[in-house]
């Protein structure tokens, strides 16, 4: 888990939220733990491994902050800690994700499932007004 010293720091969250329809809907996203692991194979110093929980995980002992993983990841789910100059991402909290524990309405659940695009259709449906605003509806 990314330790933030108890303060609320959204910039250090590994779950990001794309606002849709003028902030009336939101699409959260995080690492898909993709099969290629573009971040892992791009890392020039072997700082990214696969944890027992099946998550690609960054070792801050080895990470040099070179940012290559942040442009190699095509999903935009590798982040750069601008204070530490290290890369960070969702590591599934060792198989007990804090996000699932914290969510008050059980919208986030920890289940073993096939990696898939679970939000594309939702986001598309909620983009109608944005498309209309640029004349592309």
């Amino acid at each position: 888990m990314q330790q933030t010293g108890g303060s609320l720091q959204p910039a250090k969250s590994v779950i990001r939220v794309a606002p849709l329809e003028a902030h009336t809907s939101y699409s959260p996203y995080t690492c898909f733990q993709c099969a290629e692991g573009w971040c892992m194979t791009a890392c020039p110093v072997d700082a990214i491994s696969i944890s027992a929980a099946g998550a690609k995980e960054v070792s801050w002992e080895r990470c040099t902050g070179c940012k290559l993983c942040t442009i190699a990841c095509p999903y935009g789910t590798m982040f750069l800690d601008l204070d530490a100059h290290k890369a960070f991402k969702c590591n599934l909290c060792g198989g007990d994700p804090a996000c699932a524990r914290a969510c008050p309405v059980e919208a986030i659940q920890w289940v073993d499932a096939e990696t898939q695009d679970w939000q594309g259709a939702f986001a598309a449906e909620r983009s109608v007004r944005d498309l209309a605003a640029v004349g592309a509806a």
């Binding site: 290629e36 290559l68 594309g120 909620r126």
Partner: protein, 436 residues
């Protein structure tokens, strides 16, 4: 089957580890003038953010433990394809059944008077970094000749070391092979605000020694007003192909290879900076002198050597640098002409290049905290890599260039990208791959 890899850089290293992960008892010989290390992280060693030990991708003893025969310090001088032998400088040769040429590039200095004088450095090899580390001091006036990607990798280390920095570039703007003029203007303005002197359209004519022992730099017919204690030459690199001139291998800008990265001799592969491959975005042949392309190509060749040929999907240009808190990146066909642009407050600029409704390239420059806040740089890479027609979302992105997340998530890019892998199967982390 004797596998020989010439060059221990990213391409050669990834070929060896991939080959051994599939075939742990493979007969592999590594011929390399240098020990294996990661060029990408040399700037962090220059700035002492990491130790020398973190620079190495693998140690020679670990390679020996894995059964790799080592010819370190040996430089290939020729290729006898009839006898299937790599000839070594100073005599001797290594026999192969399969050969990978991954000899990378060397930095090239412009042939001007004074260029080989005292306190003129390069920044390309580990030895270069060690030499430069020994001379940079707080307050030192340092000029970098050539303001391309390599120069920019050492801007932060030199600024952190307290050096006063000057960039000298022959082209009309800095990073001419990574950024368009508008993006470069943002970067130049930012750097000048941070005390960096920048001279563009400045062609180096000669370097002289001033009476006080400092260096005087003459560009466009007159001397720059500042004198420098250290000069770094970063005017370009050239693939190391001279040793292959008489080999009969087809060479244009690099060794011409097919989709399995074989040269015109099916026993000889090429990867990394010496290979001329297909650019996956433009469809043209190109030398992709970047880390990720070398890594992917090395893995493709390693698998092929292990009897598992794979088709290389082609390379995609991508570069990222951060200088004094400003981040700049470009992807794919970033210089393409069918472009839309966008700007936001604080010096945040984007340029998107389109082929109909497909994003084929992108340029992004902005303060690092803003780029991190938008958190869409990787998604731009994903949109270019996927090549997916964006339909109505193309219009959205062209009109609202900062709404990448919406377009990326809505247009089905994730579903398009998830099945993709380089080797047709899930990747393994390095150490796990070598244990199996």
């Amino acid at each position: 089957m004797k596998h020989v890899v010439v060059g221990a850089g990213t391409a050669g290293f990834n070929a060896i580890t991939t080959l051994l992960s599939i075939q742990p008892d493979a007969d592999v010989t590594l011929v390399s003038a240098e020990v294996p290390y990661a060029r990408m992280v040399l700037p962090y060693y220059l700035s002492s953010e990491i130790e020398e030990g973190n620079v190495y991708t693998i140690t020679p003893s670990r390679l020996e433990e894995l059964g790799v025969k080592l010819q370190l310090g040996a430089r290939a001088s020729g290729l006898d394809r009839v006898a299937k032998r790599v000839l070594l400088e100073g005599g001797g040769s290594v026999e192969y059944d399969h050969l990978l040429i991954a000899t990378g590039s060397s930095s090239v200095r412009p042939p001007v008077p004074g260029i080989d004088g005292e306190r003129v450095f390069d920044h390309w090899t580990l030895a270069d970094t060690q030499a430069l580390r020994a001379v940079i001091r707080p307050g030192a006036e340092v000029a970098i000749v050539g303001a391309g990607f390599i120069a920019f990798t050492i801007v932060n280390p030199l600024l952190h070391a307290g050096c006063k920095l000057t960039l000298i570039e022959r082209e009309p703007h800095v990073l001419p092979r990574m950024l368009n003029a508008e993006a470069a203007a943002v970067l130049e303005g930012w750097l000048r605000d941070h005390g960096v002197a920048i001279h563009t359209r400045a062609s180096l004519e000669r370097i002289e020694d001033a009476p006080d022992g400092s260096k005087r730099v003459i560009v466009n017919g007159s001397a720059l007003s500042t004198q420098y204690s250290v000069l770094v030459i970063a005017t370009g690199i050239r693939p190391n192909l001279e040793w292959l001139r008489d080999s009969g291998l087809s060479i244009d800008r690099g060794l011409i290879v097919d989709e399995q990265l074989r040269t015109n001799d099916p026993a000889v592969y090429a990867a990394g900076d010496v290979a001329e491959v297909r650019d996956a975005v433009t469809g043209q042949r190109a030398v992709m002198a970047i880390e990720t392309a070398a890594m992917e190509q090395g893995r493709i060749v390693g698998a092929a050597m292990a009897g598992q040929p794979r088709t290389y999907a082609g390379g995609m240009l991508m570069n990222v640098i951060e200088s004094a808190g400003l981040q700049a990146a470009s992807f794919g066909d970033w210089a393409g002409s069918a472009a839309t642009e966008g700007r936001a407050a604080g010096g945040h600029y984007r340029r998107y290049i389109w082929d109909g409704d497909r994003l084929t390239g992108a340029v992004i420059v902005g303060p690092a905290h803003q780029v991190a806040g938008e958190n869409d740089m990787g998604m731009l890479k994903g949109l270019v890599q996927s090549g997916r027609p964006l339909g109505r979302w193309q219009r959205l992105l062209a009109e609202r260039p900062f709404e990448v997340r919406k377009a990326f998530l809505s247009a089905g890019s994730v579903a398009d990208l998830l099945p993709r892998t380089v080797l047709g199967e899930p990747s393994k982390p390095l150490e796990a791959a070598l244990r199996s």
